[in-house]
């Protein structure tokens, strides 16, 4: 590929010798750039390649594997590759959603890092013309006993609360884990869900030659020059701190204006394409729109409104200033576009136009400072086949023995009469206790569509003017994934979907965020491979595709990787939103049942963590999981369910306690007798594919018949009633004590007022 060598700009100067290191490319990648461009790029062009070919923007280490994920299905309207994926929920309406990470920025500055993470995912969704209707977040910190973890948590939660509340998008759910491996490198993932009429869906692949290109929103500043692209593409603490860009500060107010203006532009059909500016700023937005549309683009950096003086073309092209969008106007509609910007008090400036020739031409006034084919930047980054060096941890066999008997012995040494106290401790533990101390700082109801907010197995949203609704949940299983990334990822998919099913919704699709360590190490490569394989297997078995996602690698500090952490966001559909499964304990006399698998163990459980046990074997029976989910939906369809609750952290005992907490009604139950599982394991052991169901007394046999039809094991545990949680023969606790432990546990762990 040869392009015009008529570079006259100041940036065309001879590149420095260490240019590759400076822009984060390897010698191999540098050679590839030269070969593709057919000449020595100038410094600005190198920088554009560096950002666009960064791990964060180019998915160099994951692309090949990501292609193995199932992405097709009857409901899929838009699969991976766009700003967000979308499913069709009927009558012309699409639900667009995606999860994104903002891990490294949050490690550096938790408040602004998390806030701008929310901002970024919102823009991904409204860039498609979809109005965001909900956000969710998945957070991973070190143990709350560590001051750093508490500081990060309060910053991150504060930032999410500040940004989402100000824009006015309800936060309806999330997930929080506390594990040692996240102490230095916390994870902050945010998911956004939006709705758009099918014929209003805006895509970034429809720019046409001759159309005007506008940049709208915030002034462009020196904040975060190539920040997200580079910061997220290397380990924290690696390299020099000079690589750390100045922190980006979000402006949710501006985001709100940008959102309203964008949605209005799409509604009026005044634009050909809209693209948000995220990592790699203007470079990424312009080259992606041009590449996807099969056109070129001419941009004059001198027209870009700036916040700082004397910014170079390099700084303007690579700034990651927040709250900016690239808007391509329909010919003849420029007046409407400008009027809408003005009305929303936004600064929108025409910075260039779309060209026929497939070249991205960057000029500074009359000087051309870069000319590159956009497809080279956007699509031609090398792909690495991590499978070639992937290898499981060498010592796996030695350090992860099957110590089930040791654990059982350890458990059995503890007197059974203390077991009630153990349940209270578990309920109050950071892994299990109510997250209200976090989500009460989020507006959960703005928009007046939240039927079930945080605290339920999944959130439920109605859609005004329609009978149907959607359900959303977000989950992860890092403790399991640490032992086996395949099972952990599959279990996370299963859990997210099971949560959606537990409110009576039919799963439609998932989005995933793969938070992993360094893929250049054999073990990291293996984890990446196994994680994606696990998601794939679960999606196939459960019949649900992946429509969007994000990969965050290099989550490692001083060579120590985090546990492989696949965060799964699930979306389901309810034909009649008033008929969701309510969050209730049921009524006195109702029957409490366990459905699915009774095969649980303390090895990868929260209880295990509390006694220092973390070991396999672990497994997931995806066929059983699929049957269980179908069975629950069928039971709900038949009107047989009063309540349902996923068995998750803390095992059956916690699931029963959480059910009792809902209406503060007790229950009297007996543990299922399963061979080879002792009482403690039966109470606190964890394992996928289990749910507690509550049914009216007259419907028990109906439910059993349905279960048999679906080949799903069920156990009748007992009945609702009284003000004690009685689990015979081991414990009896007043509901009030459960309420207190659960409600105040996390606040206490964080050293705050409950």
């Amino acid at each position: 590929m040869s392009s015009s060598p008529m570079l006259t700009g100041t940036e065309a100067a001879q590149p420095k010798l260490d240019i590759l290191g400076e822009v984060g490319l390897t010698p191999f990648e540098g050679a590839r750039v030269r070969e593709l461009v057919g000449r020595e790029p100038n410094a600005l062009e190198w920088a554009m390649f560096g950002a666009m070919w960064s791990e964060h923007c180019a998915y160099k280490h994951s692309k090949k594997l990501l292609r193995t994920l199932p992405t097709k299905g009857p409901h899929v309207a838009l699969g991976p590759g766009e700003n967000a994926g979308a499913v069709d929920i009927g009558d012309g309406l699409l639900c667009a959603f995606k999860v994104e990470s903002h891990n490294h920025p949050s490690a550096v500055e938790p408040y602004q890092g998390a806030a701008t993470g929310v901002g970024g995912i919102l823009r991904d969704v409204f860039a498609m013309g979809a109005r965001p209707v909900a956000v969710l977040n998945a957070l991973f910190f070190g143990p709350p006993s560590a001051p750093r973890a508490r500081r990060l948590l309060s910053g991150v939660v504060g930032g999410i609360s500040y940004y989402g509340n100000c824009v006015g998008i309800p936060d309806v759910g999330g997930h929080v884990s506390f594990e040692d491996c996240y102490l230095e490198n916390p994870l902050v993932n945010a998911m956004c869900v939006g709705l758009v009429q099918r014929d209003r869906l805006s895509r970034a692949n429809t720019a046409k030659p001759g159309s005007a290109v506008y940049l709208v929103g915030s002034d462009t500043g020196r904040d975060g020059i190539a920040g997200a692209s580079l910061l997220a593409s290397f380990e924290l603490g690696a390299g020099s701190d000079a690589k750390r860009p100045s922190v980006q500060v979000g402006n949710p107010f501006l985001e709100k204006l940008l959102m309203e203006a964008t949605l209005e532009l799409v509604e009026l059909d005044a634009v050909e394409a809209v693209q948000d500016l995220g990592a790699a700023g203007l470079t990424c937005a312009s080259s992606e729109v041009a590449a996807r549309s099969g056109v070129g683009m001419r941009i004059d950096v001198d027209r870009v409104p700036r916040r700082a003086k004397n910014m170079s073309p390099y700084e303007v092209m690579l700034s990651e200033s927040q709250e900016r969008m690239l808007v391509i106007a329909r010919p003849g509609r420029e007046g409407d576009v400008e009027r809408i910007f003005r009305r929303w008090e936004l600064q929108g400036v025409r910075i260039g136009e779309v060209t026929e020739e497939k070249v991205l031409t960057i000029s500074s006034g009359a000087e051309v400072v870069a000319t590159l084919p956009p497809a080279l930047l956007a699509d031609e980054a090398p792909e690495y086949d991590v499978s070639r060096w992937a290898a499981p941890p060498r010592v796996a066999g030695d350090t992860l023995p099957d110590r089930a008997d040791v654990a059982a012995a350890a458990g059995n040494e503890r007197p059974l009469h203390k077991i009630g106290l153990e349940l209270l401790d578990l309920l109050a533990s950071p892994a299990v206790a109510s997250r209200a101390v976090i989500y009460r700082t989020y507006d959960q109801m703005v928009g007046t569509d939240t039927v079930l907010g945080p605290g339920a197995d999944a959130a439920v949203l109605r859609i005004k003017g329609r009978a149907d609704g959607i359900a959303v949940a977000i989950d992860a299983q890092p403790r399991v994934a640490a032992l086996d990334p395949f099972v952990g990822a599959a279990a996370a998919v299963a859990e997210a979907l099971r949560n959606v099913v537990c409110v009576g919704a039919t799963p439609l699709a998932i989005t995933d965020c793969l938070n992993l360590g360094n893929p250049e190490r054999p073990e990291g490569a293996w984890q990446l491979e196994r994680t994606i394989a696990g998601i794939s297997a679960a999606c196939v078995a459960l019949g649900v595709p992946v429509v969007s996602g994000n990969v965050s690698l290099y989550n490692a500090t001083r060579g120590a990787d985090i546990w492989p952490t696949a965060v799964i966001g699930a979306v389901g559909h309810l034909g009649d939103v008033t008929r969701h499964i309510p969050v209730t304990s049921g009524r006195p006399g109702d029957v409490v049942m366990l459905a699915g698998s009774a095969n649980v163990a303390v090895g990868a459980s929260t209880y295990g963590a509390s006694i220092g046990v973390h070991e396999g074997p672990i497994a997931i029976d995806l066929a059983l999981e699929a049957r269980l989910q179908r069975f629950i939906l069928a039971a709900h369809e038949a009107g047989a369910l009063r309540a349902a609750h996923d068995r998750a952290e803390g095992g059956l005992a916690v699931a029963l306690a959480e059910l009792a907490l809902r209406d503060r009604v007790g229950m009297k139950v007996t543990l299922p007798a399963v061979r080879g599982i002792d009482k403690r394991a039966a109470l606190f052991g964890e394992g996928p594919s289990g749910a507690v169901l509550v049914v009216g007394p007259s419907l028990e046999s109906r439910l059993r018949a349905l279960a048999a039809q679906h080949d799903v094991p069920v156990w009748t545990l007992g009945t609702i009633g009284g003000d004690l949680l009685e689990i015979a023969p081991v414990l009896g606790l007043p509901i009030a004590s459960l309420v207190d432990a659960h409600a105040s546990g996390l606040a206490r762990a964080l050293g705050r007022e409950a």
Binding site: S161, Y162, N165, C166, V167, G168, N251, P252, F253, L254, K256, L257, R343, W344, E345, Y439, R440, T441, Y442, D443, Q444, M445, V446, G447, T448, T450, V451, R462, K464, V577, T578, E753
Partner: protein, 237 residues
């Protein structure tokens, strides 16, 4: 038809929620008006909804009060028309001097979204007709909802009966524990001396349907049409 104008400023986010909730009230029709050119002629009532106008920078409602809409609201209120401000709308009305006191950061400095109980202190406002002593359950969602005033203003507000809503427990007790934000005297909402302008921090528009967890907000909004039509047992006949 009772015509209601819902004001929308840059950063407002409850305007469509209010419009939806008001659409459930028979005899009420509403329009969303842009703050810059809001013309309230022909409307019976105006709602200043919640949001983060101008990002709540400086103080919640401080920049919004500079909008031309404030002049229009003042004229409208002086003419005896009905004004309701909720959440950020309450903050704007206080900033604009249409209601007494000011709203500062919550005790605890945290944004709070939760359900609270409110006791209705006065039924002689158009929004609380027939609700005297009722204990309502409503959501709040704010970071700056702590109502404060100097001692003299507080004494005046109390003695003139301008306190319309107080945070209470579910039995109507105005306890410290029931106060979610540290407001003086548990004050959740006040009215002007003319009683036609009412502001409160909670969100009636969020609890006007059983599907969303409560209908007490509807009891407030539904007062509107009868109050204006003269069919309610109110002062506002």
């Amino acid at each position: 038809m009772t015509r209601v104008a819902i004001l929308r400023y840059p950063g407002t986010w409850s305007e469509r929620d209010f419009q939806h909730a008001l659409s459930l009230v028979p005899g009420v029709e509403s329009d969303i008006l842009w703050h810059e050119d809001a013309d309230l002629k022909g409307y019976d009532a105006a709602v200043v909804p919640g949001g983060f106008t101008y990002g709540d920078y400086v103080r919640a409602g401080a920049i919004a009060k500079l909008s031309p809409a404030t002049r229009e609201l003042r004229r409208f209120a002086d003419a005896g028309k009905l004004v309701l401000g909720s959440c950020n709308g309450f903050q704007i009305l206080c900033e604009a001097g249409l209601l007494p006191g000011a709203l500062v950061r919550n005790r605890g400095l945290e944004f709070r979204c939760d359900w609270v109980h409110l006791r209705v202190e006065r039924d002689d406002t158009p929004w609380t007709t027939g609700l005297r002593d009722a204990v309502l359950r409503m959501p709040i969602a704010h970071g700056e909802g702590c109502w404060v005033a100097d001692d003299e203003t507080l004494a005046d507000v109390e003695s003139r009966g301008q306190v319309v809503f107080r945070y209470t427990d579910e039995r109507g007790g105005a306890t410290a524990a029931a106060n979610p934000n540290g407001s003086l005297a548990n004050i959740a909402g006040v009215c002007n001396e003319g009683r036609n302008v009412v502001g409160l921090m909670p969100h009636p528009e969020r609890c006007s349907e059983a599907l969303l967890g409560g209908t007490d907000g509807y009891r407030v909004l539904a007062n509107l049409a009868p109050a204006l039509a003269g069919t309610a047992p109110a002062l506002y006949r």
